[in-house]
C-alpha cells in the first residue's frame, strides 16, 4: 500500500519534472557566463582546460569549499567511528577478512606505484588534460584502497596523513590569502601565466591543483583506512 502511494507520488513528480526537462532544448548553446570562461581561460589565464580554470580560478572558492567538505567528511568519520584514536594509531587493524589471493596481493604491489604515478600525472596535468586535483587524488586513494583490501595488516600512518592534509589545505587557503596580502583578491593569480599547454602555465592554478591532489588523496585514504579498520573498535566498550 505504502509502496503504491510512493509510486503515485513519484509519478506525479516524474510527470512535472519530465514536463520541465523536455521543455529545455537539448544540445543548444545557451551559454552566457561560460562564454567568458571559454574566452578568458586560454587567453587570460593560459589554461587549456577550461573546466580546470573554472574549478581552480573563476570558481576557486567553490573548490576551497569542496576541499573543506572532504576534510570535513574525514574528520566526521573519524569522530563518528572512533572514540579514542590512540587505540587506533600505529596499530595494525587486523581486519577479520580472509586473506586475499596471493596473486592479487602481488599484483597490488606492482600496480600501486603505477596507480600513484597515474594519479600524480593526472593532478599535475590538471590544467592541460581532463584531469585535476580531485581526479588525481581519487586515483591515488584508490591505490591505497587496493593495498588496504588486499593486505589485511596494511594500515596508513594517520600521523603523516595529518601532515599532508594540513599542508595541502594550508597551501590552498594560504595561496588565497597570499593573494590578499599581495594586494589582490583572494585566490587571484599572482604568478606569471606562462605559455598555454606547457606544464608550467596557468600561474597558481597548477600549484593549487597539486595541493588539492594531495589533500584529496590523503583525505580519502584516511577515510578508507578509518572505515576499514573499524573492527578493532567494535571490541571497545560501547559505553560512553
Amino acid at each position: 500500500m505504502k509502496k503504491i502511494i510512493i509510486i503515485l507520488l513519484l509519478a506525479v513528480i516524474g510527470y512535472f519534472l519530465a514536463d520541465i526537462f523536455f521543455e529545455i532544448p537539448f544540445g543548444e548553446d545557451s551559454m552566457v557566463v561560460s562564454k567568458e570562461y571559454l574566452d578568458k581561460s586560454p587567453n587570460d589565464l593560459h589554461v587549456a582546460n577550461t573546466v580546470t580554470s573554472i574549478v581552480v580560478n573563476f570558481r576557486g572558492f567553490d573548490t576551497l569549499g569542496e576541499v573543506t567538505v572532504l576534510f570535513l567528511a574525514s574528520t566526521a568519520i573519524g569522530s563518528i567511528l572512533f572514540r579514542r584514536r590512540k587505540v587506533h594509531t600505529k596499530l595494525n587493524p587486523q581486519r577479520n577478512a580472509p586473506h586475499a589471493s596471493r596473486i592479487v596481493q602481488i599484483s597490488a604491489k606492482i600496480l600501486f606505484p603505477l596507480i600513484v604515478l597515474l594519479g600524480a600525472y593526472v593532478f599535475i596535468h590538471g590544467h592541460l588534460t581532463p584531469g585535476g586535483g580531485f581526479q588525481g587524488g581519487v586515483i591515488i586513494a584508490t591505490g591505497y584502497l587496493l593495498l588496504l583490501v588486499t593486505y589485511r595488516k596494511f594500515s596508513v600512518s594517520h600521523s603523516s596523513l595529518t601532515w599532508i592534509e594540513a599542508i595541502a589545505g594550508v597551501t590552498f587557503a594560504g595561496i588565497g590569502v597570499l593573494g590578499l596580502i599581495l594586494g589582490k583578491d583572494f585566490l587571484e593569480n599572482f604568478l606569471p601565466v606562462g605559455t598555454i599547454n606547457n606544464l608550467f602555465s596557468g600561474g597558481i592554478i597548477g600549484i593549487i591543483y597539486v595541493a588539492v591532489g594531495f589533500k584529496v588523496a590523503s583525505e580519502l585514504t584516511g577515510i578508507l583506512d578509518t572505515m576499514l579498520s573499524i573492527k578493532v573498535d567494535s571490541e571497545e566498550n560501547e559505553q560512553n
Partner: protein, 499 residues
Amino acid sequence: MVVANPILYVALPLLVAFLLPLFGKIHKELIRVVPGLLFMFLIFNTVVLFSEVTSTGKPIITQIAGWAPPIGINLVFSAFSGFIAGIISIMGLLVWVYSYKFKKVEFDNSLKYFVLIMLVTAGSIGVVLTGDIFNLFVFLEIVALSSYPLVAFYRGRDGAEASFKYLIVGAFASIAILLGIVLIYSQLGTLNMAEISLRIGEMPEKIKITAFILLFLGFGIEAEMFPLNGWAPDAYSQAPGPVGAVFASMTAKAGIYTIIRLVFTLFDIDAGYQLLLGMGIITLVVSEGIALRQEKLKRMLAFSSLGQMGLLMIAFGINTKAAVVAGMFILFNHAVIKSLLFFSGSYLVYNSENKNIKDLFGFGKKLPLTAFLFGLGAFAIVGLPPLSGFWAKLSLLMASADSNLIALIALILIVSVVEIVYYFRVVNGLYFKKYTGEFEPHKPSWNASLVMLILAAVIVTVGLYPDLIYNYFVNAADALMDKANYIQNVLPSNFVGLN
C-alpha cells in the same frame, strides 16, 4: 594588506581548521586556544566591516580570484547579511568559550570538536555572505557535513540515529537545491544571484516555478520548515549542549537566510511570500503544540526552536518593512535566547540519562544560577517584558496589524500561551518540585557560567533598551528589501546588459 575583509570570515576558519591538527602537534593547548583567537578576529572583522557599511551606507562587495561578478564568485557584506554574519561569529565565540573546557582530557575529540565548530561557523557565514547560488549550495553542504558529526558526537546517546535522519533529509535538501540551481542555470546561464535576480523574468514561467519550488523545498529543509523538519528535534536533542545552541544560532540562521534570499531577492514570485507566511504559520502552530507534549527537555527546546523558525517565516512572509524589521529582531533574539536555553538546559540535564524534564525537578536550589538563567531565558522567549523577546514579539504583532492580519495576531498570541505553558512547567518544576535525587547535578564551569551570564545580560539590556540595536534591524531590513540596490551594487557596470 587589508585588515578586515569579508573573505576572511571563510578563509581564516578554513585555514585554521586545516592547520589545527598541526598546532595540536606543537602544543596540546593550542587546539583550544587558537579557535578562540580566530573567533575573536572574526568579531573584530565584523566590527570593522560593519562600521564601514554603516558609514558608507553601501554594502561591501568582495570579488574572489580577481573576477568581477558574474564571472567570479563574490561576497556581499550588507547591513542585512553582515548583521547575520556578525551574530553567527559572536555566537561562535560564545560557543567556544562555553566549550573551552570541553573534554579537556581527550585530545583527539577536542580537536575534532573545535574543527567542526569552526567549520560550521565558517559555513554558515559563507551561506549568508555569498553572492553566488552554487557557492551557497557548497556552503550549505559544509554546514550540513559539520553538523552530522556534531549531532553524533556523543556515543552514549542516540546521536548516530539522529544524525542519520538528518543526513537523509539533508541529502534530499541538497538534491532539491542542486536541481533548482540546474534549472536556473539551464535557462539563464549564470549562477550569480544578482544576475539571476535581474534576469529571472526571462525564465519560462513553468521552469521558473519549478525551480522555485525545488529551492523552496531544499532551503525549507535547512530552515526547519514543517513538515520538512523531522530531523530537527532529534538532532537538537542528541547533540552536545553547545551544539544545540549552534543549531539555533548558526545553521538555522543560515537556513532561514537562504529562504529569505530566495523569496526576496532571487525570484519575483509574489506568491512566494504567501507560501512562506503560510508555512510559517503551520510550522509555528504544530511545533509549539508538539513542544507542549514533550517529556524531554532538549526535545522540548528543539520544538520550541522550530516554532521560532515558524515565527521568523511569518515575519518575513508578511513582507512589509515593519515585519522584516520584526523578523530581524526575532532572528537576533532566537540566536541569543535559544542559546542561553540550550546552554543552561544542557547543564540542568547534564547527568540525567534520559534528559527528562522531571529529572531536573528541584534544581532551582541545586544549581541556582543555571536554573535562574534558564528561567530568564524562558521568560525572554515567551516575550515577557522587559526582556528582549517582548520587543520582537510586539514589533511582529504590530507589523501583522499593519498588514490587517488580525487572525494571525490572535494565533501568535494563542501559541504564545502554549509556549508559556510548557516553559513554565519546566520553570515551576525547577523551583517547586522535589529533588528526586536520582542523579547529582553537574555544576557549570566558570567559562560556561560566563557565557550564560553574557547572554542573559544581552537579553536584559536589549529588553531595557531595544534602540541599542533596533537601528541595525531597520538597516538590515532596508538592505534586504531593496532588490534593485542589491543588483546594482553587485553588478555596477555594463554587465547588467549582458545577455
